[in-house]
């Protein structure tokens, strides 16, 4: 089946070359970081996790969001999702590969990475995160590949894929829950120490993942002969709508609790993010942009006339996607570290090399997604034609 990936249009190859160039630039930046240490990043003693871990967290959500097409199709036999289920699964594969790469580039001693397996530590949440992330990646590769292969040969997928598909559902919920547990079980970090962190992560994941999927459907419609189906995209947009509303609601709950209880250790982080703290305001414009994007996107998707508008729909989805990215990618991690446990304020911003490495990881993920989507769309075109 892989032979499909080496036959493509000029645009397809140009896009792949572009991704490879970005990957190359990211690799050069990473080699410097590998040789000289994480000093090349904007991270510090006080803000010890930055852009890498933030993007990791966001992409775990995108990967988990794939389950929003799997559940309706496989559990509720929602036929309209038949064509896009594979897209959700392959999106998860690309997102998970990016997640794992972000973990690796964040390590101070990446060559010792396998110590996590050599000395398994069941008390550490990172141990479980490794298990569920790799498990979910494996499941999606196997399921996606086998189902697509069966479709190409116009036979039923092997029966053993069914239990794997059902297993992938709790895994999807699991990857984002455990990722939230990395943060929300830490006693000294008031911003993350909240039971609603995992539900909030899931809500934003179920908005960002399907929102991105809708945008990908538009791209597929433009560049291939395969049509994912307008009805499926409409249903997806309703899922995005309610998930982002849930995310905003959970955030509102958070804001109420910290301000009404007025407990300084919890309040101070949200104060820093939304209004600034002792004159430090680096993230304030970002956070308000994020909230505005998510809220406006939610309203656009809530009103049927606007949701049905084929020009507006991808814009609404992009707003929600970027809003959720800022919320998780910039606010969620930095916000937890500022102010520090000793109430010092050290602000964080990624450096040039850090951004380049991040782009390199994204390019790698997009390369994987492009190739997998090329296979999926071509097979579906063949079968229909």
């Amino acid at each position: 089946m892989l032979e499909i990936a080496i036959k493509g249009s000029k645009n397809y190859w140009l896009w792949l070359v572009f991704l490879l160039v970005v990957m190359g630039a990211g690799t050069i930046a990473y080699l410097d970081q590998f040789m000289n240490g994480l000093m090349t990043t904007g991270m510090s003693r006080d803000v010890s996790w930055g852009f890498y871990i933030a993007n990791f967290t966001f992409l775990v959500g995108v990967a988990a969001g794939g389950v929003m097409v799997v559940i309706p199709y496989y559990l509720h036999n929602y036929e309209k999702f038949h064509r896009i289920t594979i897209l959700g699964e392959f999106l998860a594969v690309g997102a998970l590969i990016m997640c794992l790469l972000f973990i690796v580039v964040d390590l101070g001693q990446p060559i010792r990475m396998l110590n996590v397996l050599l000395y398994p530590s069941p008390k550490s949440m990172l141990f479980y995160d490794m298990l569920v992330l790799n498990g979910y990646l494996f499941l999606n590769i196997v399921i996606g590949w086998k189902v697509l292969e069966a479709e190409r040969n116009q036979v039923e997928p092997p029966s053993w894929t069914k239990p794997l598909i059902y297993l992938s559902i709790p895994f999807a919920i699991g990857i984002h829950t455990v990722t939230a547990y990395l943060y929300c079980g830490l006693p000294g970090r008031g911003f993350w120490l909240t039971a609603i962190l995992a539900p909030r992560f899931l809500a934003s994941a179920f908005a960002a993942g399907p929102a991105f999927l809708i945008i990908l459907c538009y791209i597929i419609r433009k560049f291939t002969k395969f049509d994912p189906g307008w009805d499926a995209m409409q249903t997806l947009s309703k899922i995005v709508c309610w998930a982002i509303i849930a995310n905003l609601f959970f955030f509102l709950c958070e804001v109420f609790v910290v301000y009404y209880s007025n407990i300084p250790g919890h309040k101070v982080h949200i104060q820093y993010l939304l209004f600034g703290y002792h004159g430090y305001t680096a993230l304030v414009p970002w956070m308000w942009t994020s909230l505005t994007l998510m809220a406006t996107g939610a309203i656009f998707l809530l009103i049927p006339q606007l949701r049905n508008n084929k020009t507006l729909l991808p814009i609404s989805c992009a707003m929600i996607f970027f809003g959720a990215w800022i919320d998780k990618g910039l606010g969620m991690i930095s916000g937890g570290f500022v102010p520090s446990p000793l109430h010092h304020v050290t602000e964080y911003g990624p450096t040039g090399p850090e951004i380049m490495i991040t782009l390199g990881v994204y390019a790698t993920g997009f390369l994987v997604i492009t190739i997998l989507y090329k296979l999926a769309t071509q097979v579906k075109e063949e079968v229909r034609g």
Binding site: G37, M39, R45, S48, G108, S124, L126, L342, H343
Partner: protein, 274 residues
């Protein structure tokens, strides 16, 4: 899983490090059968031991001068890099400029409201405002850093000391996020150009690993007091918190003491006499 020797070695309390002190900790004896050398572990008789090590800092006796002496003694003997140190260009050519936010420190000075942010009080007695408070790893009874570590590179020894295995650490910095006291530092770069004079009695670190105060475990093993205690002119005492007859317990009995962020339940082993 079999633990490797280095680690078992670190875990056994009161074993003097190889090549340190008068009595070697490991002596090599000939095996009868093959004549090969076999390493034998022997406990140093002079080693200081405790069921649970703790520290009492008398804030009344701490002055700015003593603070400086303590930090200096600790950081110099543990090869902690000083980013203000001028790099030897010949030995380390093309060293890039430092980012002071990425500094490494084991013990340092804070103001009261930073050391005890949950005890902030607008009517706090004036003398506390100006007092230097020394902060370091609390060697918690329930250390969140140990719980978070995915490789057990940081671990609590039987005598309560929380240690780092610099050679196992993968540099994920989960422990830094977990520590409520900001006690841990990450080597964002090779620290060696910033060590004025390397003390051969303690290992230097490589880039990419986390480090922190080790309560001078290597000194206790030799029967010596930690550097901070020696430099403190009586302001810092370490001893066995589980022994009612110990000096630290006597101090805790006689004075009103506080600990940092007690409400979090990590049970810090460092006490401050107010």
């Amino acid at each position: 899983m079999m633990e490797n020797n280095r680690r078992r070695f670190l875990k056994v309390a009161g074993i003097a490090a190889i090549g340190l002190g008068a009595s070697p900790a490991i002596s090599f004896a000939s095996s009868d059968a093959h004549g090969a050398a076999v390493a034998v572990k022997r406990k140093n008789k002079e080693a200081l031991s405790a069921h649970r090590w703790g520290m009492v800092i008398d804030t009344n006796k701490i002055t700015d001068e003593i603070v400086e002496k303590i930090i200096d003694a600790c950081h110099k003997t543990h090869n902690v890099p000083d980013f203000n140190h001028e790099v030897d260009e010949e030995k380390y050519p093309e060293t890039r400029p430092v980012n002071h936010k990425q500094e490494v420190k084991w013990i340092w000075e804070e103001e009261f409201h930073n050391a005890f942010p949950d005890k902030e009080d607008e009517f706090l007695a004036e003398r506390f405002h100006d007092l230097p408070f020394l902060v370091t790893c609390n060697h918690c009874k329930n250390p969140p850093c140990v719980q978070a570590c995915p490789t057990q590179a940081t671990f609590k020894r039987e005598d309560g000391i929380v240690l780092m295995d610099f050679h196992r650490c993968i540099g994920c910095r989960f422990c830094m996020a977990a520590c409520p006291f900001g006690a841990r530092s990450f080597n964002f770069r090779d620290p060696r150009p910033f060590v004025e004079e390397i003390d051969p009695r303690f290992p230097t670190r490589s880039k990419g690993v986390v480090e922190k105060c080790n309560l001078c475990a290597e000194r206790l093993a030799l029967g010596e007091q930690p550097h901070c205690v020696e430099a403190s002119e009586g302001a810092i005492v370490v001893g066995d918190l589980d022994d009612p007859e110990s000096e630290v317990r006597a101090l805790l009995n006689e004075h009103y003491t506080i600990r940092r962020k007690q409400s979090l339940g990590t049970e810090p082993s460092v006490y401050y006499v107010m």
